[in-house]
Subunit: 185 residues, 2 copies
Protein backbone atom coordinates (compact mmCIF):
# COMPACT_ATOMS: atom_id res chain seq x y z
CA UNK A 1 0.00 0.00 0.00
CA UNK A 2 1.47 3.37 -1.08
CA UNK A 3 1.13 6.26 1.36
CA UNK A 4 2.07 9.92 0.90
CA UNK A 5 4.55 11.21 3.47
CA UNK A 6 3.32 13.98 5.76
CA UNK A 7 5.45 17.08 6.43
CA UNK A 8 7.41 17.09 9.69
CA UNK A 9 7.00 19.93 12.20
CA UNK A 10 9.80 22.49 12.46
CA UNK A 11 11.85 22.44 15.67
CA UNK A 12 12.18 26.11 16.69
CA UNK A 13 13.92 25.52 19.98
CA UNK A 14 15.09 22.63 22.13
CA UNK A 15 16.69 22.30 25.52
CA UNK A 16 17.38 19.60 28.04
CA UNK A 17 15.99 20.15 31.50
CA UNK A 18 15.69 18.44 34.79
CA UNK A 19 12.81 16.02 34.22
CA UNK A 20 9.51 17.79 34.54
CA UNK A 21 6.26 16.97 36.24
CA UNK A 22 5.43 14.34 33.71
CA UNK A 23 8.20 11.99 34.82
CA UNK A 24 8.81 10.93 38.38
CA UNK A 25 11.49 8.53 39.57
CA UNK A 26 11.26 6.22 42.56
CA UNK A 27 14.28 4.58 44.14
CA UNK A 28 13.86 1.18 45.77
CA UNK A 29 16.23 -0.57 48.15
CA UNK A 30 15.70 -4.27 47.38
CA UNK A 31 16.78 -7.55 48.92
CA UNK A 32 16.56 -10.58 46.65
CA UNK A 33 15.70 -14.05 47.97
CA UNK A 34 19.39 -15.00 47.77
CA UNK A 35 20.25 -12.13 50.15
CA UNK A 36 21.65 -9.83 47.44
CA UNK A 37 20.91 -6.14 48.11
CA UNK A 38 20.46 -3.69 45.24
CA UNK A 39 19.15 -0.19 44.65
CA UNK A 40 16.76 0.00 41.69
CA UNK A 41 15.19 3.02 40.03
CA UNK A 42 11.92 3.12 38.20
CA UNK A 43 9.83 5.68 36.34
CA UNK A 44 6.47 6.18 37.99
CA UNK A 45 3.50 6.62 35.68
CA UNK A 46 1.31 9.56 36.31
CA UNK A 47 -2.35 8.72 36.22
CA UNK A 48 -4.62 5.78 35.83
CA UNK A 49 -3.02 3.73 33.09
CA UNK A 50 -3.51 3.82 29.37
CA UNK A 51 -5.49 2.11 26.64
CA UNK A 52 -4.49 1.01 23.17
CA UNK A 53 -7.35 0.25 20.81
CA UNK A 54 -7.46 -2.19 17.88
CA UNK A 55 -10.40 -0.93 15.77
CA UNK A 56 -11.63 -3.57 13.32
CA UNK A 57 -14.23 -2.24 10.87
CA UNK A 58 -14.53 -5.80 9.51
CA UNK A 59 -12.81 -9.12 10.36
CA UNK A 60 -10.11 -8.55 7.73
CA UNK A 61 -9.13 -4.93 8.46
CA UNK A 62 -7.77 -2.71 11.15
CA UNK A 63 -7.76 1.09 11.35
CA UNK A 64 -4.37 2.68 12.06
CA UNK A 65 -3.43 6.30 12.60
CA UNK A 66 -0.43 8.23 11.40
CA UNK A 67 0.72 10.76 13.99
CA UNK A 68 3.76 12.91 14.67
CA UNK A 69 5.94 11.06 17.20
CA UNK A 70 8.14 13.54 19.04
CA UNK A 71 10.41 10.86 20.54
CA UNK A 72 11.51 9.79 17.05
CA UNK A 73 10.84 13.16 15.35
CA UNK A 74 9.02 11.41 12.54
CA UNK A 75 5.49 10.37 11.65
CA UNK A 76 4.65 6.95 13.02
CA UNK A 77 1.86 4.58 12.05
CA UNK A 78 0.24 2.80 14.97
CA UNK A 79 -2.91 2.15 16.92
CA UNK A 80 -4.96 4.83 18.68
CA UNK A 81 -4.10 5.09 22.36
CA UNK A 82 -4.09 7.42 25.29
CA UNK A 83 -4.28 7.86 29.04
CA UNK A 84 -7.37 7.05 31.02
CA UNK A 85 -9.14 10.04 32.49
CA UNK A 86 -10.45 10.38 35.99
CA UNK A 87 -13.86 8.76 36.48
CA UNK A 88 -13.99 6.76 33.27
CA UNK A 89 -13.72 2.98 32.94
CA UNK A 90 -11.17 1.30 30.70
CA UNK A 91 -13.87 0.60 28.12
CA UNK A 92 -15.14 4.20 28.23
CA UNK A 93 -11.58 5.49 27.83
CA UNK A 94 -11.01 3.24 24.85
CA UNK A 95 -14.20 4.40 23.16
CA UNK A 96 -13.29 8.04 23.83
CA UNK A 97 -9.79 7.69 22.36
CA UNK A 98 -11.24 5.88 19.35
CA UNK A 99 -13.68 8.72 18.69
CA UNK A 100 -11.03 11.42 19.24
CA UNK A 101 -8.29 9.87 17.12
CA UNK A 102 -10.07 7.79 14.48
CA UNK A 103 -13.55 9.31 14.22
CA UNK A 104 -15.39 6.11 15.09
CA UNK A 105 -17.14 4.75 18.13
CA UNK A 106 -17.60 1.03 18.79
CA UNK A 107 -20.59 -0.95 20.01
CA UNK A 108 -18.33 -3.87 20.97
CA UNK A 109 -15.24 -3.21 23.12
CA UNK A 110 -13.41 -6.16 24.75
CA UNK A 111 -10.18 -6.12 26.75
CA UNK A 112 -7.93 -8.83 25.29
CA UNK A 113 -4.83 -8.27 27.44
CA UNK A 114 -2.49 -5.84 29.15
CA UNK A 115 0.90 -4.65 27.99
CA UNK A 116 3.74 -3.22 30.02
CA UNK A 117 6.09 -0.71 28.45
CA UNK A 118 9.44 -1.49 30.05
CA UNK A 119 8.57 -3.64 33.07
CA UNK A 120 12.15 -3.53 34.36
CA UNK A 121 12.04 0.20 35.08
CA UNK A 122 8.57 1.60 34.29
CA UNK A 123 5.28 1.07 36.10
CA UNK A 124 3.31 1.91 32.96
CA UNK A 125 0.42 -0.44 32.03
CA UNK A 126 -1.64 -0.30 28.82
CA UNK A 127 -4.92 -2.14 28.41
CA UNK A 128 -5.46 -3.65 24.95
CA UNK A 129 -9.01 -3.20 23.71
CA UNK A 130 -10.45 -4.87 20.64
CA UNK A 131 -13.09 -2.56 19.13
CA UNK A 132 -15.68 -3.92 16.68
CA UNK A 133 -19.07 -2.98 15.34
CA UNK A 134 -17.89 0.56 14.57
CA UNK A 135 -20.01 3.63 13.78
CA UNK A 136 -18.92 7.10 12.67
CA UNK A 137 -18.57 9.43 15.66
CA UNK A 138 -16.06 12.22 16.23
CA UNK A 139 -15.02 13.70 19.57
CA UNK A 140 -12.64 16.69 19.75
CA UNK A 141 -9.11 15.65 20.81
CA UNK A 142 -6.07 17.68 21.82
CA UNK A 143 -4.01 16.84 18.73
CA UNK A 144 -2.23 19.75 17.00
CA UNK A 145 -3.42 18.53 13.60
CA UNK A 146 -5.89 16.07 12.14
CA UNK A 147 -4.69 12.47 12.22
CA UNK A 148 -4.55 10.42 9.06
CA UNK A 149 -6.52 7.18 9.33
CA UNK A 150 -5.25 4.16 7.39
CA UNK A 151 -7.18 0.95 6.78
CA UNK A 152 -4.79 -2.01 6.77
CA UNK A 153 -5.35 -5.74 6.08
CA UNK A 154 -4.67 -7.47 9.40
CA UNK A 155 -3.39 -10.58 7.61
CA UNK A 156 -0.44 -8.55 6.28
CA UNK A 157 1.38 -7.28 9.36
CA UNK A 158 4.75 -8.20 7.84
CA UNK A 159 4.50 -5.44 5.19
CA UNK A 160 3.46 -2.99 7.89
CA UNK A 161 6.51 -3.80 10.05
CA UNK A 162 8.82 -3.67 7.04
CA UNK A 163 7.79 -0.06 6.26
CA UNK A 164 10.05 1.18 9.06
CA UNK A 165 7.57 3.71 10.45
CA UNK A 166 5.38 1.30 12.41
CA UNK A 167 7.82 0.45 15.18
CA UNK A 168 6.04 0.78 18.49
CA UNK A 169 6.28 -2.50 20.42
CA UNK A 170 2.83 -2.07 21.96
CA UNK A 171 1.12 -1.39 18.62
CA UNK A 172 2.73 -4.39 16.94
CA UNK A 173 2.02 -6.65 19.93
CA UNK A 174 -1.62 -5.49 20.11
CA UNK A 175 -2.15 -6.05 16.38
CA UNK A 176 -0.89 -9.64 16.59
CA UNK A 177 -2.88 -10.27 19.76
CA UNK A 178 -6.04 -9.04 18.04
CA UNK A 179 -5.33 -11.22 15.02
CA UNK A 180 -4.81 -14.30 17.21
CA UNK A 181 -7.66 -13.64 19.65
CA UNK A 182 -10.40 -11.91 17.61
CA UNK A 183 -11.99 -15.23 16.74
CA UNK A 184 -12.17 -16.26 20.40
CA UNK A 185 -13.67 -13.20 22.13
Amino acid sequence: MKLTDPKLPIIHDRHVSRPADRFKVEQLDLEFSNGERRRYERLISRGLGAVIVVPMPDPESVLLIREYACGMHRYEIGLPKGRLESGESIIEGANRELQEEVGFGARSLVEIGQLSLAPGYMTHVTHVILARDLYPSRLPGDEPEELEVIRWPIADLVSLIRRGDCTEGRSIAALYMARDLAGQV
Copy 2:
Protein backbone atom coordinates in the same frame (compact mmCIF):
# COMPACT_ATOMS: atom_id res chain seq x y z
CA MET B 1 3.29 -25.50 30.70
CA LYS B 2 3.38 -25.34 34.52
CA LEU B 3 6.05 -23.10 36.07
CA THR B 4 6.95 -22.63 39.74
CA ASP B 5 6.68 -19.05 40.99
CA PRO B 6 9.91 -17.40 42.13
CA LYS B 7 10.09 -15.44 45.41
CA LEU B 8 9.85 -11.64 45.11
CA PRO B 9 12.55 -9.40 46.57
CA ILE B 10 11.77 -7.52 49.79
CA ILE B 11 11.42 -3.73 49.49
CA HIS B 12 13.40 -2.33 52.43
CA ASP B 13 13.05 1.32 51.53
CA ARG B 14 11.56 3.46 48.79
CA HIS B 15 11.46 7.13 48.01
CA VAL B 16 10.55 9.37 45.13
CA SER B 17 13.25 11.72 43.92
CA ARG B 18 13.88 14.24 41.26
CA PRO B 19 14.68 12.07 38.23
CA ALA B 20 18.25 10.87 38.39
CA ASP B 21 21.02 10.60 35.85
CA ARG B 22 19.33 7.74 34.09
CA PHE B 23 16.47 9.84 32.76
CA LYS B 24 16.87 13.11 30.91
CA VAL B 25 14.06 15.24 29.50
CA GLU B 26 14.24 17.45 26.43
CA GLN B 27 11.71 20.16 25.69
CA LEU B 28 10.97 20.99 22.06
CA ASP B 29 9.21 24.05 20.71
CA LEU B 30 7.45 22.75 17.57
CA GLU B 31 5.56 24.27 14.67
CA PHE B 32 3.33 21.90 12.72
CA SER B 33 2.77 22.24 8.99
CA ASN B 34 -0.63 23.82 9.67
CA GLY B 35 1.07 26.59 11.69
CA GLU B 36 0.08 25.18 15.10
CA ARG B 37 2.75 25.78 17.76
CA ARG B 38 3.21 23.33 20.63
CA ARG B 39 5.75 22.53 23.31
CA TYR B 40 6.54 18.80 23.53
CA GLU B 41 8.61 16.92 26.06
CA ARG B 42 10.48 13.70 25.47
CA LEU B 43 12.65 11.35 27.48
CA ILE B 44 16.14 11.12 26.04
CA SER B 45 17.75 7.69 26.03
CA ARG B 46 21.18 7.44 27.48
CA GLY B 47 23.55 5.44 25.37
CA LEU B 48 23.68 3.67 22.08
CA GLY B 49 20.35 1.91 21.85
CA ALA B 50 19.31 -1.54 22.97
CA VAL B 51 18.93 -5.06 21.62
CA ILE B 52 16.24 -7.65 22.20
CA VAL B 53 17.17 -11.20 21.21
CA VAL B 54 14.89 -14.02 20.04
CA PRO B 55 16.96 -17.17 20.68
CA MET B 56 15.63 -20.16 18.74
CA PRO B 57 17.35 -23.44 19.67
CA ASP B 58 15.26 -25.12 16.93
CA PRO B 59 12.61 -23.86 14.46
CA GLU B 60 9.77 -24.71 16.88
CA SER B 61 11.12 -23.24 20.13
CA VAL B 62 12.24 -20.00 21.70
CA LEU B 63 14.20 -19.45 24.91
CA LEU B 64 12.65 -16.98 27.35
CA ILE B 65 13.94 -15.68 30.66
CA ARG B 66 12.11 -15.00 33.88
CA GLU B 67 13.49 -11.95 35.65
CA TYR B 68 12.49 -9.61 38.45
CA ALA B 69 10.87 -6.54 36.88
CA CYS B 70 11.13 -3.60 39.26
CA GLY B 71 8.61 -1.45 37.34
CA MET B 72 5.86 -4.01 37.99
CA HIS B 73 7.40 -5.45 41.20
CA ARG B 74 6.84 -8.96 39.90
CA TYR B 75 8.70 -11.60 37.94
CA GLU B 76 8.18 -11.20 34.22
CA ILE B 77 8.78 -13.67 31.41
CA GLY B 78 10.29 -12.16 28.30
CA LEU B 79 13.16 -12.12 25.87
CA PRO B 80 16.77 -11.36 26.79
CA LYS B 81 17.67 -7.74 26.14
CA GLY B 82 19.98 -4.97 27.18
CA ARG B 83 21.80 -1.80 26.25
CA LEU B 84 24.56 -1.71 23.69
CA GLU B 85 28.00 -1.03 25.10
CA SER B 86 30.55 1.34 23.71
CA GLY B 87 32.56 -0.11 20.82
CA GLU B 88 30.40 -3.13 20.12
CA SER B 89 28.19 -3.68 17.09
CA ILE B 90 24.48 -4.50 17.37
CA ILE B 91 25.23 -8.15 16.58
CA GLU B 92 28.05 -8.30 19.13
CA GLY B 93 25.80 -6.74 21.77
CA ALA B 94 23.06 -9.25 21.03
CA ASN B 95 25.45 -12.18 21.35
CA ARG B 96 26.82 -10.78 24.61
CA GLU B 97 23.37 -10.32 26.16
CA LEU B 98 22.41 -13.82 25.03
CA GLN B 99 25.47 -15.32 26.74
CA GLU B 100 24.97 -13.24 29.90
CA GLU B 101 21.25 -13.85 30.35
CA VAL B 102 20.57 -17.22 28.72
CA GLY B 103 23.91 -19.03 28.76
CA PHE B 104 24.08 -19.54 25.00
CA GLY B 105 25.95 -17.94 22.16
CA ALA B 106 24.69 -17.97 18.56
CA ARG B 107 26.49 -18.63 15.28
CA SER B 108 23.66 -16.97 13.34
CA LEU B 109 22.43 -13.51 14.39
CA VAL B 110 20.17 -11.51 12.05
CA GLU B 111 18.47 -8.15 12.67
CA ILE B 112 14.81 -8.56 11.70
CA GLY B 113 13.53 -5.10 12.69
CA GLN B 114 13.60 -2.20 15.12
CA LEU B 115 11.13 -1.38 17.86
CA SER B 116 10.44 1.92 19.54
CA LEU B 117 9.26 2.01 23.12
CA ALA B 118 6.91 4.98 23.23
CA PRO B 119 7.68 6.94 20.05
CA GLY B 120 5.48 9.85 21.12
CA TYR B 121 7.71 10.80 24.05
CA MET B 122 10.77 8.53 24.15
CA THR B 123 13.76 8.37 21.82
CA HIS B 124 14.48 4.76 22.80
CA VAL B 125 15.17 2.28 19.95
CA THR B 126 15.59 -1.49 20.34
CA HIS B 127 17.05 -3.69 17.59
CA VAL B 128 15.36 -7.08 17.23
CA ILE B 129 17.86 -9.89 16.65
CA LEU B 130 16.93 -13.42 15.66
CA ALA B 131 19.53 -15.80 17.12
CA ARG B 132 19.90 -19.33 15.75
CA ASP B 133 22.48 -22.10 15.67
CA LEU B 134 23.04 -21.79 19.42
CA TYR B 135 25.90 -23.23 21.50
CA PRO B 136 26.35 -23.28 25.29
CA SER B 137 28.41 -20.29 26.45
CA ARG B 138 28.09 -18.27 29.63
CA LEU B 139 29.33 -14.71 30.21
CA PRO B 140 29.05 -13.06 33.64
CA GLY B 141 26.23 -10.50 33.77
CA ASP B 142 25.28 -7.90 36.37
CA GLU B 143 22.05 -9.60 37.47
CA PRO B 144 21.45 -9.89 41.22
CA GLU B 145 20.43 -13.54 40.84
CA GLU B 146 20.55 -16.30 38.24
CA LEU B 147 17.86 -15.99 35.60
CA GLU B 148 15.49 -18.84 34.93
CA VAL B 149 15.50 -19.93 31.28
CA ILE B 150 12.25 -21.28 29.81
CA ARG B 151 11.90 -23.09 26.50
CA TRP B 152 8.57 -22.21 24.90
CA PRO B 153 6.87 -23.47 21.69
CA ILE B 154 6.78 -20.45 19.37
CA ALA B 155 3.54 -21.67 17.78
CA ASP B 156 1.75 -21.13 21.10
CA LEU B 157 2.16 -17.44 21.90
CA VAL B 158 -1.48 -17.16 22.94
CA SER B 159 -0.94 -19.29 26.09
CA LEU B 160 2.13 -17.23 26.89
CA ILE B 161 0.20 -13.94 26.67
CA ARG B 162 -2.68 -15.35 28.69
CA ARG B 163 -0.38 -16.18 31.64
CA GLY B 164 -0.44 -12.50 32.65
CA ASP B 165 3.30 -12.28 33.42
CA CYS B 166 4.56 -11.94 29.85
CA THR B 167 3.33 -8.43 29.16
CA GLU B 168 6.16 -6.44 27.66
CA GLY B 169 5.10 -5.01 24.29
CA ARG B 170 8.58 -5.35 22.81
CA SER B 171 8.94 -9.00 23.83
CA ILE B 172 5.53 -9.96 22.43
CA ALA B 173 6.12 -7.97 19.23
CA ALA B 174 9.58 -9.51 18.74
CA LEU B 175 8.25 -13.05 19.29
CA TYR B 176 5.58 -12.61 16.62
CA MET B 177 8.04 -10.94 14.26
CA ALA B 178 10.42 -13.88 14.65
CA ARG B 179 7.61 -16.34 14.05
CA ASP B 180 6.52 -14.51 10.88
CA LEU B 181 10.00 -13.76 9.54
CA ALA B 182 12.19 -16.73 10.61
CA GLY B 183 11.42 -18.60 7.40
CA GLN B 184 12.48 -15.63 5.26
CA VAL B 185 15.84 -14.58 6.75
